[in-house]
């Protein structure tokens, strides 16, 4: 029985975990709904991973969906896709080992995509994983997809020429960040990286030196897309990927237009999440955010079936929000992108100061300064509500606008002098002014120092940076606490620069807890991370949770089936259709 377990668990249970409050696709309104508790499921029954996907009510075949975006998608090669636009487009033309079934209302199910299930934890130690590959999978030229092509796709991600993609699996297989020196892809194109084997055409096996219980999540990224070796054109594949999904790229004019048309060799019976309603998807690049939104507002011709990918710019928010006729064409939802005021614990060593900052924070004022609820939604936890198992708590309850008196009492007469580093752009300046005015009411003396916007990320990641506070954000690659808390707060990974732990928190007890939870299967982890989130906040307060970004999109009157994906917080196309 144990051998049939999916994901990391080893038990044949579909594990339902509570997710946090995700917003809804308002459709009829312009309010972000934070009051729902959707669920996350890791499917174990192979039936859950088979198609066809449930029909979308009202959907019809035909038509062209246009997506208007200012800049091109940085990479299309599945092994290099890592931008949000790329991550949302890749499922149209490439399939990964696992994928998320997302109902658009926050209910998630991890299912097998090319695999029959989200994987088998062979020895229940997260070191050996096996995936059985579905039958009936085909590439765009009709060739069958086997474990060999999937393994080759993973192997080519070791190619140092193919920059920018995720590196989890390479690093886990090689057991080092220097994976491309551990195994030289170019010299070993006919073999596979260490730890990756294909015992037969239907089986793919990973063997790691260390436990990696998040593998079922990690293989949901497009970097596990299959590719026949003879179709590997190296860096040139970025212009013309070879399709395994319901659409194939038929025209790619870089920076101008990307056209995807139906792939007739895709079999819906093998696919639990995708549909093939529109004849075409066309990415139209070039229009700036205002122009893109204006085109969709005007709703004429091809733009009736268009989406303005760059969202609704602040200059048009009041127009869109005030126009009743547009409300049925908007998407307004919180995203998994969580923003926090990072406290540099190397410099701010007094816990009471860090706690007082949490009591003093005026989230409501900050959100208003950023543009209101169409831009941001308040957050009091380190993990965003879209994380598997998330639970609402507020370690320092102080209301929407903060509790200045409570902060003062925690400070007990101290007037800490803190340096707040902000980017030198409009947003950074506004946040700096707002936070300074807010925190100084509680007795803090805040010196705002600007950092060049394009250098801020790198500078604040340096261990010896000269700031006490700075705003940070984190968007995880999958909705597990494992991809949020350890990267952000495991101090054993602190180095001279390039740190994700920008609080520079290094607490032995917390680190040990990370190890304990990471060794558990993902389903069991889902209930542990929220506890650790709360503990970190209460005991150490290394940050002030601020808000999650809100997605606010507008689409044409004849475009249906769009929803904001719960994993990345961007519009998803798998259910899209053109209304008759």
């Amino acid at each position: 029985m144990r051998s049939r377990v999916a994901a990391a668990a080893g038990a044949a249970l579909a594990v339902v975990v509570l997710l946090g409050a995700c917003g809804k696709n308002t459709g009829q309104g312009n309010k972000v709904d934070n009051g729902r508790t959707p669920t996350g499921v890791i499917a174990t029954d192979p039936k859950d991973s088979m198609g066809p996907a449930a029909p979308v009510p009202g959907a019809a075949n035909g038509g062209t969906v246009t997506i208007i975006r200012q800049a091109k998608i940085s990479h299309l090669d599945p092994q290099r896709v890592y931008s949000f636009a790329g991550l949302m487009t890749a499922p149209l033309y490439s399939r990964s080992l696992t994928t998320w079934r997302d109902d658009g209302k926050g209910h998630l199910t991890l299912v097998g995509d090319t695999a029959e299930t989200p994987g088998k934890n062979v020895n229940n130690d997260c070191k050996t994983w096996e995936f059985k590959i579905k039958s009936g999978l085909k590439f765009e030229d009709g060739r069958a997809i086997t474990s060999k092509e999937i393994a080759y796709g993973i192997a080519r991600s070791f190619n140092p020429d193919l920059t920018s993609g995720p590196t989890y699996i390479q690093e886990w297989l090689a057991d080092t960040p220097q994976y491309d020196t551990k195994w030289d892809f170019k010299a070993n194109k006919t073999s596979l990286p260490p730890g990756l084997t294909t015992p037969d055409d239907k089986t793919l096996r990973f063997e790691f030196a260390k436990a990696h219980c998040d593998l079922p999540f990690a293989v949901s990224l497009p970097s596990t897309a299959p590719l026949p070796a003879d179709k590997d054109t190296g860096v040139n594949l970025d212009l013309q990927p070879f399709s395994s999904g319901p659409y194939k790229i038929t025209k790619n004019t870089v920076g101008v237009e990307l056209v995807l048309e139906r792939n007739t060799n895709w079999d819906p019976a093998t696919d639990p999440v995708r549909h093939q309603y529109p004849d075409k998807f066309v990415w139209s690049f070039g229009a700036d955010p205002e122009a893109g939104a204006n085109r969709v507002i005007s709703d004429s011709g091809a733009d009736q079936t268009a989406l303005a990918w760059n969202g609704i710019p602040s200059s048009l928010v009041s127009k869109v929000a005030g126009d009743q006729s547009l409300k049925g064409r908007t998407l307004l939802e919180p995203t998994p992108s969580a923003n926090r005021l990072t406290i540099n614990t190397q410099r701010v060593t007094d816990l009471t100061v860090r706690q007082a900052l949490n009591y003093a924070i005026d989230r409501d004022g900050l959100i208003k300064s950023l543009g209101g609820e169409t831009v941001a939604s308040p957050l009091t936890t380190l993990m965003p509500p879209s994380t598997l198992g998330w639970k609402q708590f507020d370690a320092y309850p102080a209301g929407k606008s903060g509790d200045i008196e409570k902060a003062k009492s925690v400070l007990a007469g101290k007037t800490p002098e803190l340096v707040l580093g902000v980017s030198d752009d409009k947003d950074g300046t506004e946040v700096g002014t707002q936070l300074k005015n807010n925190l100084e009411k509680a007795g803090f003396k805040i010196t705002v120092k600007t950092i060049p916007a394009d250098a801020k990320l790198d500078e604040t990641k340096k261990k010896n940076n000269p700031w006490d506070l700075y705003a940070d954000s984190w968007a995880a690659d999958w909705p597990s606490g494992a991809s949020i808390l350890p990267p952000l707060f495991d101090g054993r990974a602190i180095k001279a620069e390039g740190n994700s732990d920008t609080s520079f928190l290094n607490n032995d007890s917390i680190n040990a807890e990370f190890d304990r939870v990471l060794a558990m299967d993902p389903a069991a982890q889902a209930t542990e991370w929220p506890k650790l989130d709360e503990r970190i906040m209460k005991e150490l307060a290394p940050a002030v949770p601020l808000y999650v970004d809100v997605a606010y999109y507008l689409h044409g009157s004849k475009l249906g089936g769009l929803y904001v994906g719960s994993i990345f917080g961007y519009p998803a196309f798998t259910n899209a259709f053109v209304k008759p």
């Binding site: 800049a71 091109k72 940085s74 990479h75 090669d77 890592y82 140092p160 020429d161 920059t163 920018s164 993609g165 995720p166 590196t167 960040p177 220097q178 491309d180 020196t181 170019k186 190296g234 860096v235 040139n236 970025d238 212009l239 004019t253 870089v254 920076g255 101008v256 139209s284 690049f285 070039g286 229009a287 700036d288 122009a291 204006n294 085109r295 507002i297 005007s298 004429s300 011709g301 733009d303 390039g498």
Partner: protein, 328 residues
């Protein structure tokens, strides 16, 4: 004429050589590391260094420059990280666009040419025509109207005029399609309708300046002795104005037009951005922002080439228009 042309071409080559050296040095002088642009995330220091070596960025500067110039003339092998062999004229590989820079340029150059050339015809015809007629009808209502037009045009900005045109004709009246480039060879009607607002916006602003300039030049020429002599000899008005006055008045306009058109061909950044059309100018700006230095370098070279060629053309036109000028 032939000697003149040879001399100018040699001089232009030297100019372009200087530009190429400067832009190549810029490649290394800019704070943006081309490799971090190529590998924005998931590249640690060791990996970045390996990529630098693979790209030849650790080779001596002179070797790199010679390799670049050789690529333009004969093509070169860029290695697998940059798409393999790059045929002549090879201007490098854009890791932002994942294609050879020549592919990018061959796509965006026709766009900019399609914007600038028809717009230039419009603004020259409208501007010079308006200026000339205005000068000949000095003090009349037409003249005052023309002055008003030119003042308005000269005081407005392209991003404003463009935005107004878009809002009125595309978003509200919906009589013009969203501006978008289609090859003239593929569909001439779509080509024209997809660029018409860009032409109108450019023509409106530029023609205003040319109208003022032409009017002033014409008025000055009309007060010259040779015009009085021509009139005294009994020449017809059309001959006096068309053959003698116009030729003399238009010479400085040709100079400015040459520079304007040459500059515009190097990239109509604001026009392309306003109308969301991907031409040379916008490509150059995006390349600068994205640290896509091979594309930056190529666009700088191309822009310089346009200016240099425009200058040669202006010099030749000078001689053709004004017989007093001889090409020595």
């Amino acid at each position: 004429m032939a000697r003149f042309l040879v001399r100018r071409v040699l001089s232009a080559t030297l100019t372009l050589f200087a530009v190429s050296v400067l832009s190549f040095l810029m490649f290394f002088a800019l704070p943006k590391d081309p490799v971090t642009g190529m590998c924005p995330k998931n590249c640690n220091a060791e990996r970045l260094e390996r990529v630098r070596q693979e790209l030849g960025l650790r080779d001596p500067l002179v070797d790199q420059y010679v390799g670049y110039m050789r690529g333009i003339v004969a093509g070169r092998d860029l290695g697998s990280a940059q798409g393999g062999h790059c045929a002549a004229p090879c201007l490098g590989y854009s890791y932002v666009n994942s294609e050879p820079v020549t592919s990018t340029l061959s796509r965006v150059l026709p766009v900019t040419l399609s914007i600038v050339i028809p717009a230039a015809v419009l603004w020259l015809a409208l501007g010079v025509g308006l200026g000339m007629i205005s000068a000949l009808r000095r003090g009349t209502a037409f003249d005052r109207l023309a002055i008003g037009f030119s003042l308005t045009g000269a005081s407005l900005q392209l991003y404003f005029v463009g935005a107004v045109l878009l809002i009125v004709f595309v978003y509200n009246l919906k009589v013009v399609p969203v501006q978008h480039y289609t090859s003239m060879l593929e569909n001439p009607a779509k080509w024209a309708s997809g660029l018409v607002l860009a032409w109108v916006a450019l023509a409106f602003l530029f023609s205003a300046i040319y109208a003022r300039l032409s009017r002033a030049q014409m008025l000055e020429t009309l007060s010259e002795d040779f015009i009085r002599t021509a009139r005294a000899k009994g020449l017809a008005k059309s001959q006096v104005y068309g053959r003698h006055a116009l030729r003399a008045a238009i010479t400085p306009i040709v100079t400015i037009a040459g520079l304007d058109i040459g500059g515009a061909l190097g990239g109509t950044v604001i026009t392309e951005t306003t109308f969301g059309i991907q031409g040379l100018g916008r490509t150059a700006v995006e390349a600068v922002r994205g640290g896509d230095l091979p594309t930056v370098m190529a666009t700088v070279l191309i822009s310089a080439a346009f200016i240099v060629v425009a200058n040669i053309v202006v010099d030749v036109l000078y001689a053709l228009i004004d017989p007093r000028v001889r090409l020595q």
